[in-house]
Amino acid sequence: MPPRQNASRPTTTGTRVQAQPQPSTDDPRIMLDRQIGADLFEPIPPYPPRTEREGEFYTLGDGEMFLNVGPHHPATHGVLRLVLKLSGEQVVDVDPVLGYLHRGVEKICENSDYYHVIDQVDPLEYISSLFQEWAAVLSFEKLMDVEVPRRAEYIRVLSGELLRIASHTLYMGFLALDLGGLTPILYGFIERDEIVEMLAALTGARMLFNYFRIGGVNGDLNHEFMSRLGDWMSRAARQTEASAGLLNENEIFVRRTRGMGVLDRATALRFGVTGGNLRATGVPFDVRRAHPYSVYPELDFSIPTRTEGDSLARYLIRVDEVRESIKIIDQCLHNIPDGPVMAKLPRLLRPRPGRSWGACEGPRGMMGVYSISDGSDGPFRFRIHDPSFVNLETVPALLPGNLLADTMAIVASLDPVMGGIDK
């Protein structure tokens, strides 16, 4: 029996090894299978490099090897594929491969009308879908010169901050999970479940809320929501401290995150990183304060910043933000005015031709929507800016020099959500 040939494994260093061609067939299904197989299991792409950078990355140096992480890997937070170039256990370079969850939401939105768009953008950031809706309605309201009733603005802030807490508690749990700690994620899910049940009472859905409308929100606060919220608020602060104490004082967690994946201020600004990841480097950029929208100027809260820029700082920023969000919810409950929750709008929206950019602060950073109207009942161009996309872009800058075991801890500390990245 001849030795098993595996031409795709690089045998010599410094050269690019091509996959061996297989016998051709006319059956398109077999060809597709081969294509998929080649894409999934072979780190070296079966085609010549398209750019200088790709050619450089897929050329192995002395003693280096490739490791394919994902796209189906429990720690990649979705279908992210990272091609790691390793030297021993040390990461030399990374090539993130995206597109496994690409659904073409921008194209779908261009073919929808303005009311439908809210529905379509929901599954983008599925952990915090209200913020994506928020960015879209902010942009559309500017396009149509709609004034939102103040009660609706307060309800938006209230539900948004609740969802921010849910997202952050889940983040803390998943970060610990990627470091090998199983307990915090259970507490994270308990907290999130309470909030999600609360929002289900308000919106009717647990995950894809479809709650915000152009000119307001879909429904007023109801008794079940308020009683659940009151119940939760009475112990929210204590519960947050308890679940934060689980990790903040854990020596293993602190030692595995401190000084890990350090992003400095200048690099973060050059990359266009936003959200907690930017504030962990010392830049107090939060759209709620930097470019206020809704009723945030009336609310009293602070923007926590840190200067270390490492994984631990990114985590601690989130803990501080949860505390601030609880403060905001408390103020909303005290200040919320009476009145309508929807502006009066026609059934068919046909804004005048124009352009508008709306941005809000999501749990991961700035959510932006740029929409162009051509006078018809749907957007002519609908551009979605997702913060995770830019945050993930820093991975090739953060990982090199770290150990393989820390890659997932660093990626998780950036809090990417693939639904938003791949659109």
Binding site: P28, R29, M31, L32, Q35, D39, P45, Y47, R50, T51, E52, R53, E54, L98, G99, H102, G104, E106, K107, E110, K142, T267, L269, R270, F271, G272, V273, T274, F285, A290, H291, P353, G354, R355, S356, W357, A359, M366, G368, Y370, I372, D374, G375, F380, R381, R383, H385, F389, V390, E393, T394, A397, D422, K423
Partner: protein, 185 residues
Amino acid sequence: MDRILKTRLEARLAEHLRGPVYQRHDETEIRIEPGSVPEVLRILHDAVDLRFEILADLAGVDTGEVMQVVYHLWSPMASDWLRIIADGLSRDDPRAPSATFLWTGAEWLEREAYDMFGIVFEGNRDLRRIFMPPDYTSFPLRKDFLLPDDSARSPGAGVRHVERGYGPAGLADDPAAGIRRAPAS
């Protein structure tokens, strides 16, 4: 609307502006030639009274007539978002200078614009497709994109039933048919 920003932009960028500075709600918009993108971005980023240090977004736009590259910037000095429209890229061969010399993060945003519109950013060191498969041949967000026609050239054609040739006969033959066009503004 930030009136001070308007006067500053007019003073600093007078020779680059194509058309007046346009302001609406909390947005300020300027139009420039694609060729002057690096110079304009450099001025906006470095000038002490502008300091647009955060690249909020970079997007491609196909108006049906021309291609555009749209930048959104944020500055601590201004109360408006700034939108820069690099207007008038040809639809047959859209080319624009890259913004990666100033914002490294523009690299992926430009890859996305290339993937969706085919806009070639000169100076981007890694301009390859980011969402679509590497052997995909068309650009999905262009207004002349037709799903049955363009996806038929992808390797999965004929396997997934939704991609087998359906759709109005003859539409694919006429590239001008069915293109939605933006109003002139």
